[in-house]
Symmetry: C2
Subunit: 211 residues, 2 copies
């Protein structure tokens, strides 16, 4: 299957690289990294750049659309080229997926109107304002649309998708190959679990960037 | 702190991008992506390229050395430039770290002689043949050396390191920002937990690449 990952300036690299590590390793799958123009695209983290191998319009009908988010995503919610590409790609796709605030782009393109979806925990109201119905789950699967929560949830989303497409054994093979037996040293991965001052700090900072 | 990530052809992108997502977001930290030459470096997955911003020797004394592995790592275990850079960098570093088979490079450079360390589960004997003492843990911390197991373990390694350097609150902030509340759809992330035919398939394939 052909997987297309549309990048924009200040995307979050792990949103894209987590799922790529899973889906991109399945024999027969190819991954196309797209952007406004081919060439390096700056992520939102510490100078990391990933190379886009083509422009959006060069890959109009991928089998799987996989949209990462990022701290720069809010600047592209009215980007005509991205939104037009998403609408066209979604119309023909087998699967349309997102990680983190990538779902805001899907919603801005009208793809999530009235559809259950998830996003980064700081952006749930924004997702609803754009027409989707926020569901508080790490991975939300409705029809051919699969959305993942913030950043690291892309790995769980991709394993879920791999199982849907290729069966449980393939997903387990990807999980073992990447030794995905998570053991975070703390249990602070959701606002329900993290200390309140940590939650407040991040929510205030997120709202300062884009209310 | 200055963090240096040395890349080689066919590195595993998630080995590097997972920890970068954590450590690179701490205010005041800078991440340098290094390679034999500046420019795009091909990862071992599906055409993903990350841009190196400098050559190894341009950043001789980073505070943190973070070495990713990959399916191409075995071809660089006698690479004079990488090994010389690792020895020099480790001599001056505050922390020397690796993810997955990145520890094989540290061992090949003589940095892990008699030192407890971990690596990808298919490469434990190779690590020992290179002089380290394999420890079956996801993150192994000995003195200033912190090694992580395969691929996704880099995220746990980086959170452990963030807590050691900056305290628990910073690590929890990084965990919540990346919504790292893992919920893999299966429990197959280690050879003890995965189905035996999945374990055998991956071990045979790994040994075919590099015994």
């Amino acid at each position: 299957m052909e997987i297309a990952i549309p990048l924009h300036e200040d995307f979050t690299a792990l949103d894209a690289v987590g799922p790529n590590e899973m889906l991109g390793r399945i024999p027969g799958n190819t991954v196309r990294w797209l952007a406004h123009e081919p060439g390096p695209v700056r992520s939102d983290s510490a100078g990391l750049q990933i190379v886009a191998d083509a422009a959006f319009e060069d890959v109009p009908h991928p089998d799987i659309v996989l949209v990462p988010g990022g701290t720069g995503t809010h600047r592209f919610l009215d980007d005509d080229r991205i939104l037009a590409w998403l609408r066209e790609a979604h119309e023909h796709s087998t699967w349309t997926t997102s990680v983190c605030t990538g779902s805001l782009l899907l919603a801005a393109a009208g793809i999530l109107d009235g559809v259950d979806a998830t996003t980064h925990w700081t952006r749930t109201e924004k997702l609803e304002r754009l027409g989707a119905r926020y569901v508080k789950e790490r991975v939300v699967h409705r029809g051919k649309i699969v959305t993942g929560a913030g950043v690291s949830a892309g790995i769980d989303m991709a394993l879920t998708l791999a199982a849907l497409i290729h069966g449980d054994d393939v997903a387990k093979t990807l999980q073992l190959a990447s030794e995905y037996d998570p053991q975070p040293p703390f249990d602070a991965g959701t606002p329900d679990k993290a200390p309140q001052h940590v939650v407040d700090f991040l929510r205030d900072r997120a709202l300062a960037v884009s209310p």
